[in-house]
């Protein structure tokens, strides 16, 4: 049986009011379920606009969105929103609850989930993001990374099929960023849902199963990290840089060192260099 894409975008065009250029220009793509997907592109490339079409926050002027095989329409949009959660960029703009636990419960209250069930889910979600000990605290007093973990818990508690992280790490310090990225890796291993991370951090994208590069509202290329990062010229042309391991590999190969001719992540590159070390 053929697998149904969790999200399918067909020929979608969207132009912001008064904008000269469309933010999305006849774009089509398919995302498969239960993967970690990265959407990369420079600021203003259209990547965040694209994500906002997935749950109808933005309604395209033409084209169609399918969520798990279902066409997104005025009738289906509410159902889809229940199955797709978003963590936004700014950790300070997404809190409504007086305590961490209240905040996580908010989305479920809105969806009319019974209280007993809610309590179970709040605890499970907060434990999952390692913030259960902070459940009675005010969200405002947490660090940036902790705030984003709570926001993620709020999304997890809804048991969505898709979690979108819209540049959720870009305002965090290095420690906060690695907390979120570690958590994403664990979630992918544990859960049966799709993670879509919208990012311009190539090191974060390198962890994904599948990467989509967006520019000028078009899909420029897509692939698994090893195919994707092999095309460094393409990345440069669209305002991104390749991961450090690829910069090093590229330069070593150019200077005549006999390394693999494909993308290697840091571990693989260190291993290859080791086998070439004089003392081996």
């Amino acid at each position: 049986m053929k697998l149904t894409p969790i999200i399918e975008v067909r020929d979608v065009t969207y132009r912001y009011p008064y904008a000269e250029q469309p933010a999305l220009d006849q774009i089509s793509l398919q995302m498969m379920p239960n993967q970690w997907i990265a959407i990369v592109g420079h600021n203003g490339s259209g990547k965040s606009t694209l994500a906002k079409t997935f749950n109808g926050l933005i309604e395209p002027q033409s084209g169609e969105i399918y969520f798990d095989g279902q066409l997104l329409t005025e009738e289906t949009v509410w159902d889809v929103r229940g199955q797709l959660g978003i963590v936004f960029q700014n950790p300070d703009n997404q809190f409504v609850g007086a305590t961490v636990a209240d905040d996580v419960a908010f989305g479920m209250e809105n969806n009319g989930i019974p209280r007993d069930e809610m309590l179970v889910r709040v605890e499970a979600a907060l434990r999952q993001v390692r913030m259960w000990d902070y459940r009675h605290q005010e969200p405002a007093r947490l660090s940036g990374g902790q705030k984003q973990r709570v926001a993620l818990a709020g999304v997890l508690a809804q048991r969505p099929k898709v979690i979108i992280l819209d540049e959720a790490t870009s305002m965090l310090d290095p420690q906060g960023r690695s907390e979120i990225i570690d958590l994403m890796s664990q979630l992918r291993a544990a859960g049966d849902f799709t993670i879509i991370s919208i990012t311009h951090d190539v090191d974060e994208a390198a962890l994904a199963d599948q990467i989509f590069l967006i520019d000028d509202g078009h899909l420029i290329m897509q692939g698994a990290p090893d195919e994707f990062f092999a095309k460094s010229d393409e990345l440069h042309d669209h305002g991104l840089i390749e991961p450090l391991s690829e910069q090093i590999r590229g330069k070593l190969v150019a200077s005549g060192i006999n390394l693999s001719n494909k993308y290697l992540d840091e571990n693989q590159l260190v291993d290859e260099l080791w086998t070439l070390h004089l003392n081996m």
Partner: protein, 289 residues
Amino acid sequence: MDITFEHVDYTYQPNSPLATLGLKDINLTFKSGSYTAIIGQTGSGKSTLLQHLNALIRPSAGRVVIGEQVVTPATKNKELYHLRRRVGLVFQFPESQLFEETVLKDVAFAPKNFGKSEAEANEIARETLRLVGIDEQLEDKMPFDLSGGQMRRVAIAGVLAMQPEVLVLDEPTAGLDPIGREQIMQLFERIHRERGITIILVTHQMDDVVSYADQAVVMAHGEVAKVGTPAEVFADLNWLTAHNLELPSTGRFVQRLQQKGFHFDQMPLTVDELLTAIKPQLKRGAHVG
């Protein structure tokens, strides 16, 4: 204009049960025309230190000497007016402070506030906008109609329009994409070189410290943990890791290679330095042809 910290302490909420020491016995010099990077974990005292640089807060003990102006716990606010023009502070996400109806008005606000005529202020604003790469067509737009990267430049232009001698930058590239980051850092480098402006940069981007700064200051628990050139500060990777600091991007790689038996006399801080250090350690057979 040199800036010197002499035995500076800063206490949050003094004389209360909640009193906490924000800074402890800080001794530092920022020479006129230098480029200093301040690094350290969130909560290490970087921002508190920063706010002393144009006397937004005054030390609880010790003194800060900014040019001829001495700032002590007893200094009156009135005496600090001129200082604020000479030291420009760009906060994190400065675009959130844009407020005027048009881009030009926003940038002209500070010079007008410091006594320039409307025509003079507009002239300065135009010049500054060109300097940060904002075209004439954008001058009459609402700041909020611009892209994130453009808004950031306009906000920076607003500070530069005061024509400060010292520019203090708190994570000026946070949230920007790699190319946008590079452009903003190049802009500061150009202003630093061409106009001799002193730069003090707070950052988590260790590669920027390596590329641009001539002095690096490591803050930890409200104290200066280390001062030196970037090469000196990044020489000991284990020390950095022990202080929970990020490494320059080559650092992680170097640590892994060391575990596999590679040897480095000096910590390579750039990709090219790294390659130069690795190549002689590879087998001859490793070279093609």
